[in-house]
Amino acid sequence: MIFADAVAWLLDPVNWSGGKSIPVRVGIHLLYCLGAVLGAALIAVPLGLYVGHTGRGGVVLVGGSNALRALPTLGLVTFLYLVAGGGTAGVLIGLIVLAVPPILAGTYAGIQDVDRGVVDAASGMGMTGAQRLWRVEVPNALPLLVGGLRNAMLQVVATASVAAYVGIETLGRPLLDGLRVLDYGQFVGGAILIALLAVVLDVVLAGVGRLVVPAGLRLAAKARRAGSGKARSSGAQSRRRGEPAPVESGGSTA
């Protein structure tokens, strides 16, 4: 039984201590993921805000970000590893390249989707461009922006496994080792850990989203879902808004 083997592998005390233990690999995996999403956000959020706010370069942005999506991450990581001569930089850059498109798309779409009347009113009342961006457009873009971050995080968590190919102790290690020696327990155990990590990170980001998205927008989303133009109470929210679209290629590493 593969699952029994996986559980046995997960529970084996040998795998919970030392330099190649599960906690260490989870930690390294996590660090790469957070680093990649943070790095990607530093690039993609300002770019998305600029393009969304000014409306300039939208076509270039969409084309460029689709081209990035088409890059095979494993190939890129290997290439960068060879070019950079090993180390973490290549892997991190590869993951950042992977994480930029969803964050860019979420930020840009978030700004673009702000009701034209709302933007018009903001200008018409005398807000400067910067005031309009920070006081009106960004708060209203937050649901989609956070959705973009969640998409990026899911993809990166799945894909950080490839770092194991170039010798980094992420959760890709048990997958590779398990395959090599046909130890399916180890293989499935590693996959379970990756999936768990993805779920936990997504829940955490969803919580962050609920903290930062203004209450008025959550009510508006709830009213839209209820199919009426009016919400009745300002009570606690039972569901999240701005759910990102399911990740179509979350597990792809090639």
């Binding site: 009113a121 018409g124 203004p214 008025g216 133009g229």
Partner: protein
């Protein structure tokens, strides 16, 4: 006062939205720009607060060329209300209204206090201030939009089809509210609509514009109805304009006559006369026909109100007698359609 001097706006795609517009909006009046789509009415309005800049010509607000003021500064001094209100969905109603005061540097406390006053002014309960726009009805949102535009007490108010997204009953309420506010505040208002009835109802002056950006006629609404400048204006103003123009004639010349009355709930017998049913406060409730059957009444009009109301009261009454009431709703007397028409004829002569 707002002045357009030979203002033309051509867009990059070659269309001319506004063509040599010369027009003065008097201070303290409501001027309505009305016309079919593509007539340049919204473009004209947006050139006042520099949401659009003219290709040639000058727009002056209180004698100053608007191009000489940077747009944010200019706009903070001009109230702006748009279709569907454009309220900020992420801010409470109170903070929406406080937007401009905060932009011009008021303290948050003072801005919120002012916002609360304005909610009261536009007839909204104070507790609505802590709600979000999505929790309000369309009519309430539009009132908040007006309150927001008035927050910093600008002398000029631009209103771009503000009431076109709400249903007719709510729209009429909002129009009445605007007229009441204007009587109190005395702003210079430019109001854009495609609805000629709205234009006639609220405008002190109406500018009818024609596709291609031409001003077809600029005159008080009564004149628009009685003396349209050309066939375009006549057809745009629509049917029944003779009848509708009576809205602008007061009924003070129409003498009311006494009428036999019966008090509600008292038994009646047949008689040769129509008798008006009134309640204990002498408010009309309906008619008793000569055969003693009881019929609902026609429309009522207030003494001194428009003669259109008087004529309609007579025409809609089952007895042929239009019922006039005082402003507290008590019976004043009755008129016949013949009497009303005689007054209209004599005014003409």
């Amino acid at each position: 006062m707002i002045e357009f001097r030979d203002v033309t706006k051509r867009f990059d795609d070659g269309t001319t939205a506004v063509n040599g517009l010369d027009l003065v909006v008097e201070a303290g009046t409501i001027t309505v720009f009305v016309g079919p789509s593509g007539c340049g009415k919204t473009t004209s309005l947006r050139m006042v607060n520099r949401m659009i800049d003219p290709s040639s010509g000058t727009v002056l607000v209180d004698g100053n060329d608007v191009l000489g003021v940077d747009p944010p500064t200019l706009r903070r001094g001009i109230g702006y209300v748009i279709q569907q209100a454009g309220l900020f969905p992420h801010r409470t109603v109170l903070d929406n209204v406080a937007t401009v005061p905060l932009l011009i540097g008021w303290t948050r406390r003072k801005a919120r206090q002012r916002a609360a006053e304005l909610l009261e002014l536009v007839g909204l309960p104070a507790e609505l201030g802590h709600r979000y726009p999505v929790q309000l009805s369309g009519g309430q949102q539009q009132r908040v939009g007006v309150a927001r535009a008035l927050a910093a007490d600008p002398p000029v108010l631009l209103m771009d089809e503000p009431f076109s997204a709400v249903d007719p009953v709510v729209r009429e309420g909002l129009q009445d509210e605007l007229l009441r506010l204007q009587a109190e505040l005395d702003k210079t208002i430019v109001f854009v609509t495609h609805d000629i009835d709205e234009a006639i109802r609220i405008g002190d002056k109406v500018a009818v514009m024609r596709t291609g950006g031409f001003l077809a006629q600029y005159s008080p609404p009564a004149e628009l109805l009685t003396r349209p400048a050309d066939d375009f204006v006549a057809s745009f103003v629509g049917k029944d304009r003779g009848y509708r123009s009576l809205s602008f004639v007061d009924s003070s010349g129409v003498e009311v006559a006494e009428v036999p009355t019966v008090v509600e709930g008292v038994a009646v017998e047949s008689s040769s006369d129509w008798r008006l049913v009134v309640d204990a406060e002498k408010r009309p409730q309906g008619w008793v026909a000569p055969d003693a059957s009881v019929l609902p009444g026609g429309s009522l009009y207030e003494v001194g109100a428009s003669i259109r109301g008087a004529l309609d009261a007579a025409l809609s009454s089952p007895s042929g007698l239009g019922v006039a009431v005082h402003d507290d709703g008590r019976l004043a007397g009755v008129v016949t359609a013949r009497q009303v028409l005689d007054v209209i004829e004599s005014r003409r002569g």
